[in-house]
C-alpha cells in the first residue's frame, strides 16, 4: 500500500498541500518570468505556508469525530458521485459548556484540510467546540447539500451552508453544551462565513455572534479571474501547457533521485523532494494556478451535470461509475472560470432567477452587496495580507475602509501563507472573543 506516497506526488502538482516546511536554501536561485500578480515572497509563502517554527502554540491533543449526515433535501445522487451522498464534517467537542466555532474551508476543499486542522487546534486550545465544514464548492458538498448543484453563488451557497449547519447542530450528541456560536472561514470560506452570518441575522435560527474572515476575496469573480490569469501566464493555455509543466517537474524529481542514487522510500521523503523541485516564481505560480484549476474541474463537472448544460457531459447519457473520465478531465483542465461562468453558471441562474443579468450575478457574488452591514455591524472581522494575490489594491482598500478597525492587515504571507502564525492566531482569537480593540489595535 503506497497511497500516502502517491498523494505526496500530488503535492508535486498541487504543492499547496506540501507545507512540509521545506524552505530549502538556494531554492530561490532561479527566477522565472514575473507574473505581475504577486511578488516572489508572496508566491513562496502561498505555496509553502507557515514555517513550523513560526506556528502558534497548539494543544497536545485534540479529540476529533467525523460526522456523516444525509440531509433531508438531498437530490437524486448521480451514479458517478455515489460516494458523495452524505455531507461529511468534523467536530471536536469540549467536555464542558463552551462556545462553538464553525470554520468553513477554502475553494474546492473538504472540511479536514491541513489548514483547518491548524485552526481547529488553535480554537480547541482556546476553549471552543470546533465544527469544520467543507467549502460549498467542494464536490462532496455540491452533491450532498447544495439545492442547485451549481456552486459559486455567494447567496445560494450561504443558504445551503446555513441549512446544513442547523441540521448538524441539531444532531450533535446531547452532552455537547453550546453557549454561543461564532463563525470563521478562510479564503472563499471567509466570504461564505460573512454571508451565513448575514442570513442568520434575518432568520435568527442559530444566533451567530461574531464572524472572522481570513484572507477573503471581495469579488469572487475578480479573484478567480486573477488565478486564471496566473494559469495562463505560468502554464499557458490548455493541454500542452500542463503537459510541459508535468514534463519539467517529472524530470526534475527523477533527476533529484538519480543524483542522490536512491529510491524514494517513504512519503515524507517524496513530499520533501516534490516541494524542493519547485524553485522559481514560475513554478510557484504554476503550482498555485494548477491547484485552483483542479478545484475548478470538480465544480465545473458537477455544475454541468446538475444544470444539464451539456458542456462536457451529455445530459442524456451521464457517465456511469465504470466509465473512464480521462478525456473529460483533459478537456476540463483547459477550461478557465470564465467558461464555467459563461457556459454553466450564468445559463443556470439566468433561467432560475427572473430579472437577473450576467452583471447582477457578478454583483451578487461581491462582498460589496453587504457593505453597509460590514461597515456598521461591530461583529464582523477580517484578517488579510497586503500581498494577498487574490486581492487587487482597490479591493484591499475597500476592505480597510469598510471594516475600519476590525481588520488586521499583515505585511507578508501572500494568500494564507501566514495562517497558523502566532500573530495571526492570537489576533483571530481576540477578534472572536471581542477583545480585539482592547488589545490596542
Amino acid at each position: 500500500m503506497k497511497h500516502p506516497v502517491a498523494l505526496a506526488l500530488a503535492a508535486l502538482l498541487c504543492a499547496a498541500a506540501s507545507a512540509s516546511g521545506a524552505q530549502l536554501d538556494g531554492a530561490s536561485a532561479e527566477t522565472g518570468p514575473a507574473t505581475g500578480l504577486a511578488d516572489s515572497a508572496a508566491l513562496r509563502a502561498t505555496v509553502f505556508g507557515t514555517a513550523p517554527q513560526d506556528v502558534a502554540p497548539l494543544p497536545e491533543s485534540v479529540p476529533l469525530a467525523e460526522i456523516n449526515i444525509a440531509l433531508p433535501w438531498v437530490r437524486t445522487v448521480p451514479d458517478v458521485f455515489w460516494f458523495d451522498r452524505r455531507l461529511r464534517v468534523w467536530f471536536s467537542a469540549q467536555n464542558k459548556p463552551a462556545p462553538l466555532a464553525i470554520v468553513i474551508s477554502g475553494i474546492g476543499s473538504d472540511g479536514n484540510t491541513a489548514k483547518l486542522s491548524t485552526l481547529r487546534a488553535a480554537l480547541y486550545g482556546a476553549g471552543y467546540h470546533v465544527l469544520t465544514m467543507p467549502s460549498p464548492t467542494f464536490p462532496g458538498f455540491i452533491v450532498s447539500t447544495s439545492t442547485t448543484g451549481v456552486a459559486g453563488d455567494l447567496q445560494q451557497d450561504g443558504r445551503d451552508l446555513y441549512a446544513a449547519m442547523q441540521q448538524i447542530i441539531a444532531h450533535l450528541p446531547r452532552r455537547v453544551e453550546i453557549t454561543d456560536i461564532d463563525i470563521l472561514g478562510y479564503s472563499l470560506g471567509g466570504a461564505n462565513a460573512a454571508v451565513v452570518k448575514s442570513i442568520d441575522a434575518v432568520e435568527g435560527k442559530l444566533k451567530i455572534h461574531r464572524a472572522v474572515m481570513i484572507n477573503p476575496p471581495v469579488s469572487l469573480f475578480n479573484s478567480v479571474a486573477r488565478l486564471d490569469k496566473l494559469f495562463a501566464i505560468s502554464i499557458g493555455s490548455a493541454d500542452s501547457g500542463v503537459e510541459r509543466l508535468y514534463r519539467r517537474l517529472y524530470t526534475r524529481l527523477a533527476n533529484l533521485y538519480r543524483m542522490s542514487e536512491r529510491v524514494p522510500n517513504d512519503d515524507t521523503d517524496l513530499l520533501a523532494a516534490a516541494a524542493s523541485v519547485l524553485k522559481s516564481d514560475a513554478d510557484f505560480s504554476a503550482a498555485i494556478a494548477l491547484t485552483f484549476r483542479i478545484a475548478l474541474m470538480d465544480m465545473f463537472f458537477a455544475g454541468d451535470l446538475y444544470a444539464g448544460t451539456g458542456v462536457v457531459i451529455d445530459p442524456r447519457h451521464p457517465p456511469r461509475p465504470g466509465d473512464s473520465l480521462e478525456e473529460t478531465a483533459r478537456i476540463l483542465r483547459g477550461k478557465p472560470f470564465a467558461d464555467y461562468f459563461a457556459q454553466v453558471f450564468a445559463p443556470y441562474y439566468l433561467a432560475h432567477r427572473p430579472h437577473s443579468t450576467p452583471e447582477s450575478l457578478r454583483a451578487d457574488s461581491n462582498l460589496a452587496i453587504m457593505g453597509a452591514t460590514l461597515r456598521s455591524n461591530p461583529d464582523y472581522y477580517a484578517q488579510t495580507n497586503s500581498d494577498d494575490l487574490i486581492l487587487d489594491k482597490p479591493e484591499l482598500e475597500w476592505l480597510q475602509a469598510t471594516l475600519g478597525s476590525r481588520i488586521a492587515v499583515y505585511d507578508h504571507g501572500g494568500h494564507l501563507g501566514n495562517l497558523g502564525e502566532r500573530r495571526q492566531i492570537s489576533d483571530m482569537l481576540d477578534m472572536l472573543s471581542g477583545h480585539w480593540r482592547e488589545s490596542g489595535q
Binding site: 500516502p4 485534540v62 444525509a70 473538504d110 450528541p173 533527476n255 529510491v263 473512464s324 473520465l325
Partner: protein, 294 residues
C-alpha cells in the same frame, strides 16, 4: 458455495453501511503540538541535507556517472490501463470495504496505547527485512543486503524479536526492497495498472512482486509463522497495522476524477523509482504517444 454466500453478505453489509442517515464516528485524537515539533525537526534535517548536498563533493562525483534526464525522457502523462472497467469496479469495492470494515477496525486499533502499536508495527516490518535481504542478494547489492541483514539481526536480538526498532537508533535506517524492484533492476516495465482487491492500486509488476515475496516468505516459514490458522490472524493484524499507518482515505477528494488521479500518481511514482534505479544507463526510450507503462 460458502464463498458465494459470504460475498453476498459482504455486498449487502456494505450497501447497508452506505445508506445510514447519520453516523458519528470518533477518530483517534489529533496531536498538533507533537506534529509541529516533528515538522520543525524534519525541516531542520532537510535544510542540513540541502546544505550538505550543495557543498559536499559527493554530488559532483556522482554527476560524472549519472546521466541526467531531459524533459524528452519523461514518460507520457497518461497511464496504461487496459483493464480499466474491472479496475474501476475493484476500486469502488475497495472504497466500500474500507469505509465499512477496514477503517473502523483501524481506528479502533489506533486507540490502543502507542507502545503496543509501535511494537506490532516494528515486528511486522522486521519480518519484512527477510524479503529485503533476499531481494538485495538477487539484485547483487551486497552492501545494501548486509545493511538490512544487520538491521534484522540487531532488531531480532536486541530488539526482542523485532518489537523494538533498535537498529534505527544506531542509524541503520530501513531501506526496504522487494521483488518488484528486483524486476525493475532487471529492466522490466511496470506494465498495466491494476487495482488489487483489498490491497488497492498496483501494477502488473508490483502484483507479481507481491506474490513472489509472499511465496518466498511462505517457503522460508520463519518461526513457523506462515502455517496453519495463526497465519490468518497474523495477516489480519499486519493489514490493520498497515492501514492504521496509512493516511489515505478513499474519496476524501470528493472528486469524480479520483480514480484517474490516484492512477496517475501511482504509476508515475513507480516510473520515477525506475529512473532512479537505472542511473548509469542511457535513459529509457519512451514512446510519448503511448500511455506510461505500456
Amino acid at each position: 458455495m460458502r464463498v458465494a454466500l459470504c460475498l453476498c453478505f459482504a455486498v449487502w453489509a456494505l450497501d447497508g453501511c452506505a445508506s445510514q442517515e447519520l453516523s458519528i464516528r470518533s477518530l483517534p485524537p489529533e496531536t498538533p503540538a507533537a506534529d509541529n515539533a516533528a515538522a520543525i525537526k524534519n525541516a531542520a534535517a532537510l535544510a542540513a541535507v540541502a546544505t550538505a548536498a550543495s557543498h559536499g563533493p559527493a554530488a559532483e562525483e556522482s554527476e560524472h556517472a549519472v546521466i541526467p534526464l531531459t524533459t524528452a525522457d519523461a514518460p507520457s502523462m497518461y497511464s496504461y490501463d487496459p483493464w480499466e472497467r474491472v479496475n474501476r469496479f475493484t476500486y469502488r469495492f475497495n472504497a466500500r470495504f474500507d469505509e465499512a470494515v477496514f477503517l473502523p477496525v483501524a481506528y479502533g486499533y489506533g486507540r490502543l496505547p502507542a507502545p503496543i502499536r509501535s511494537g506490532v508495527h516494528n515486528f511486522f516490518r522486521n519480518l519484512d527485512e527477510v524479503k529485503t535481504i533476499i531481494n538485495y542478494a538477487v539484485q547483487l547489492q551486497p552492501a545494501a543486503g548486509a545493511h538490512s541483514l544487520g538491521r534484522f539481526l540487531i532488531n531480532t536480538t536486541l530488539g526482542i524479536g523485532g518489537l523494538f526498532d533498535v537498529a534505527t537508533k544506531f542509524n541503520l535506517e530501513s531501506e526496504p526492497t522487494g521483488f518488484s524492484m528486483t524486476l525493475s533492476r532487471w529492466g522490466l516495465h511496470p506494465g498495466p495498472y491494476v487495482v488489487l482487491p483489498l490491497l488497492g492500486p498496483s501494477t502488473l509488476r508490483d502484483s507479481v512482486g507481491l506474490l513472489a515475496d509472499f511465496g518466498v516468505a511462505y517457503g522460508i516459514n520463519l518461526a513457523d509463522l506462515y502455517r496453519g490458522d495463526k497465519t490468518w490472524a497474523f495477516g489480519v493484524v499486519d493489514a490493520v497495522d498497515q492501514r492504521a499507518n496509512t493516511s489515505f482515505r478513499y474519496y476524501a477528494t470528493g472528486s469524480p476524477f479520483e480514480y484517474e488521479t490516484v492512477r496517475f500518481l501511482y504509476v508515475h511514482r513507480e516510473l520515477i523509482e525506475d529512473d532512479a534505479l537505472h542511473v548509469k544507463d542511457q535513459p529509457k526510450v519512451r514512446d510519448v504517444d503511448k500511455p506510461a507503462g505500456q
